[in-house]
Subunit: 196 residues, 2 copies
Amino acid sequence: MLVTMTTAPLRKDAARNWHRIVEVGRRFVDEGTPIQLNDVARAASVGVATVYRHFPTPEALVETVAIPGFEALLGQAERALAGDDPYAGLRDFLYASVDALLADASLSPVFAAPVNVLPHTAELKRRLADLSGRILDRARAAGAVDPGVTQDHVVPLMCGVVYAASVHPAACAEDRAAAGRRFLTVMLEGLRVRAS
Amino acid sequence: MLVTMTTAPLRKDAARNWHRIVEVGRRFVDEGTPIQLNDVARAASVGVATVYRHFPTPEALVETVAIPGFEALLGQAERALAGDDPYAGLRDFLYASVDALLADASLSPVFAAPVNVLPHTAELKRRLADLSGRILDRARAAGAVDPGVTQDHVVPLMCGVVYAASVHPAACAEDRAAAGRRFLTVMLEGLRVRAS
DNA sequence: GGTGAAACGGATATGTCATCCGCTTCTTCG
DNA sequence: CGAAGAAGCGGATGACATATCCGTTTCACC
């Protein structure tokens, strides 16, 4: 048995259609159009079965659409970890994450989903959890963060901040981003180590 | 349950069916069963049309199911406002709210929904927003809360805390409640007035 | 350019949602 | 009391969304 099937080589037409579909998925996500695979097929000028073959569920498509944003976030995390100031690294990473989650609607569902339902991004999520945990640990070791907060809390807290921003009745996307940053500020203050 | 009737009183059989339906709705919410009005009808031994007549959408049923929990929360808010310590009032009210939102799954969707899509609880939401605003104002006036935080932020922040707890991978409901309280603690610390 | 495998597409089966309308039950009033 | 009609009932059924199947086409390789 072959060791790895991670990269099955796609046929030329399959690759073309895959791209078309992901492109349409990206557009739908950006426009807020609900991802219905039939509609995606029509918009991509592709048969329904082709869409279902590549992406069995809407979630699978959103997951694929989310990958570039996800990788950008990983880059941010690595940069935060490479910097000199532990607390600034944590802070900047969290601000960047909240901005990204609010700017790209495909990220939140992937973040919030349990790992097993979205196997494709599982590895990315694992790496991001690992990196954000190390960012937090470093800030805690530097005495900048309350010891009671652990790495398991970072992703949920971020999701909570983003959700709070989306609940907040705001006219435009800019207002939502502003609300998100404000809520994150509150949370960051809450994470600070207590003087008392 | 006490529900103010703005329109004519229901006929006897209609009232009986209404009760059956709401009861089933409550059970479905507690069990996490998705609210599909056809299923509700079958479980309540009632025709489909009867369900649709009383509750045009699943949200409308959830809304009605949420009312008792909502009123309990209003009671908490009034108690918090009647107490002596402004900050303790805010803190206790928020803890009670988060506990309630995590214990009763019907509350979150009603909280998060824009007002106009759920007209029935609009008045309750208005009253709760008013009370929580006054609780916050009192705490701020006492110098216990950062002046940058306004009453518009309270409900979104609470929703965010609850959402964070539900994202947090937790085995049982107790763990989720514990996570919610921890997240609320972080948030409360973030709300405290800054030393700088 | 011939061959087998992979991929395609859309007709259609399956499942869900919500309405319509003939029938039943309740209330009112003579 | 009992007739009349208003209010409510139920489930068959049409409208709509989702997902699969299979005959046809395209591609990669020889």
